[in-house]
């Protein structure tokens, strides 16, 4: 084949991207789902489950951040729960110290956490895999220790805003439009949806492509002209930003924060559920949050200790790592389709035997 014929080969026919039916159906389904979650769920469920789902919405954002790092860039961080605590601390401090509108507090919590979380990501420039996991875990431990001594702000004075003599600590304020629990649930879902949109925009464009290249081979990424240092830090910055915003929501939802709520091992459990949910799809983050927050609420209401979940998650991670690396979000639809085929096969056979016997 010579050059001329090569250049003249017919170009593969291209259906203009974005015009087939699927591209319209998908956003429509997502909007319908969002409407159902926003309007139907708070009306249908008791306050207990509305509160649990608020936690799901918040932790979905945290799982989103970790999923981006682990699934898109290949950086495993075991410090994300500590990053969440940082975001909550910053938000709590701002809520007590200022009269800033709640969305501004969320934004600032996100930005400050982004700056701090990027520092947590600095070791990732040199380390990866087990060593990065270990270093981020140690950093998380350090943050836990610092928080245990400084405590969360409770309306006191000074930089730390903690008053150890306070008999009555004031509750953290919520946005005026979302002061009730169902309203705050809706607020959290909307903020969460915005964070998912932010992540989607990243994944679908230049940074997403750069991350995919880095994840596969850093050498190949550099040869492709990608500044790997910049894009790795960018990933940590984005993950920390959304986690910081989630921390702000957490401050508003729980109203009282205690350092004991952020143990170091929470980061490990978080990674386990994120792996189980699926790290290669943004939906996996929602599955992860359901496992992490709704499952314990269900077990509690059934009178079963949620401590059993540690064992369940252990088995779940083992199962995912060995048989379904793309997580539940990939595996369950496939399994359902298989069950569906099986059932329709059984039904057909029964129908056939029904015809043959008079």
């Amino acid at each position: 084949m010579d050059a001329a014929s090569l250049e003249g080969t017919a170009r593969p026919s291209l259906s203009p991207r974005g015009l087939d039916a699927r591209t319209f159906v998908r956003p429509a389904v997502i909007v319908a789902l969002l409407a159902f979650v926003l309007f139907a769920l708070p009306a249908l469920l008791s306050l207990y489950y509305v509160d649990a789902l608020t936690q799901v919405a918040i932790y979905a954002i945290v799982a989103l951040g970790l999923g981006l790092l682990a699934g898109r860039v290949g950086l495993v961080s075991l410090g994300q729960a500590a990053v969440l605590a940082l975001g909550a601390w910053v938000a709590a401090r701002l809520l007590f110290a200022t009269a800033l509108p709640f969305p501004i507090v969320l934004l600032l919590a996100g930005l400050v956490t982004m700056a701090l979380g990027t520092v947590v990501g600095l070791p990732a420039l040199r380390l990866s895999g087990l060593y990065l996991a270990l270093i981020t875990l140690m950093l998380a431990g350090a943050i836990t220790v610092v928080l245990a001594t400084t405590n969360f702000p409770n309306g006191g004075h000074g930089f730390l805003g903690y008053n150890s003599n306070a008999l009555h600590t004031p509750a953290m304020r919520r946005p005026t439009i979302a002061s009730s629990d169902p309203a705050f649930f809706r607020y959290s879902v909307i903020v969460g949806a915005l964070m998912f949109l932010l992540a989607l925009v990243h994944v679908r464009t230049r940074p997403g492509r750069a991350w995919a290249a880095i994840r596969q081979s850093e050498a190949a990424a550099r040869a492709a002209g990608i500044n790997t240092t910049l894009y790795k830090l960018w990933a940590f910055a984005l993950a920390s930003f959304v986690t910081g915003v989630a921390g702000g929501l957490l401050a508003g939802s729980s109203r009282y924060l205690y350092s004991i709520d952020f143990p170091t091992q929470a980061s490990i459990t978080l990674l386990a559920v994120v792996l189980m949910g699926g790290i290669f799809s943004l939906w996996g983050a929602i599955v992860a949050a359901l496992l992490l927050q709704l499952l314990p609420a269900l077990l509690n209401s059934w009178g079963v200790s949620p401590d059993w979940l540690t064992i369940l998650f252990g088995i779940g991670v083992l199962q995912v790592l060995t048989t379904a690396p793309a997580g539940l979000v990939d595996q369950v639809p496939k399994d359902l389709a298989r069950v569906g085929r099986l059932l329709s096969g059984v039904a057909r056979r029964r129908a056939r035997t029904g015809e043959s016997t008079p």
């Binding site: 084949m1 291209l14 995919a212 040869a223």
Partner: protein, 238 residues
Amino acid sequence: MIEVSDLTVRLGGVTALDSMSVNFVQGTCGLIGPNGAGKTTFFNVLSGFVRPVGGSVRAYGEDLLGMVHFRRARWGLRRSFQTEQAIEQLSVFDNVAMIHEHSRLSRASRRQEVLDAISFVGLEIDPQAKVATLGAAQRRLVEVARAVVGEPRLVLLDEPAAGLPDEETEHLSGVIKAIPGHTGALVILVDHDMSLVSACCGATAVLDFGTVIASGPTGEVLRDEKVMRAYLGTEEIV
């Protein structure tokens, strides 16, 4: 024109390149040599992954070694890897577009130029197909499409035909031959397939133990006695 002079690389105690000096003038040039001769090390120096202890590489008059590695793609350096490195998670289009978006070219013409590169290498598949679903030969072509997009000036191909069946190699050879004319880039081809090298390369240099032992028109170089000895060993040993 790529001028390599006195390039020396030491990896631990091994001298991988030993005062390598050679000029690659234009078109598609071959770089051959026995295993361990330093061919891939040379590419890694050009890519900026390995820092030489001495010597210089001037590409079109510019000092290539003075550039930060990721800036070299923007300058116009492209390379393929021995184990192909098309990004599995991304579509064919995104694989090629990624190179274009880190080049000097404007965004406006990106879509068209990416599709042109895909059709130049003769990939007749849906550009939105994920690379993970492609076969070995198609992935190689995706890599070559990545190498020719965005006005490259120097294209390094590291054993692009390794493991390919004859028919695919023949197609690839046609594509490689066409790269200089299509893009204006200089191509350096490393391969063990001598028929591919003779078919594609006007000039060829031979590396042995990190030193260039012969260079010139491919036909003459392949008949050179020193080259035969490098590949087949000396009579005394036999």
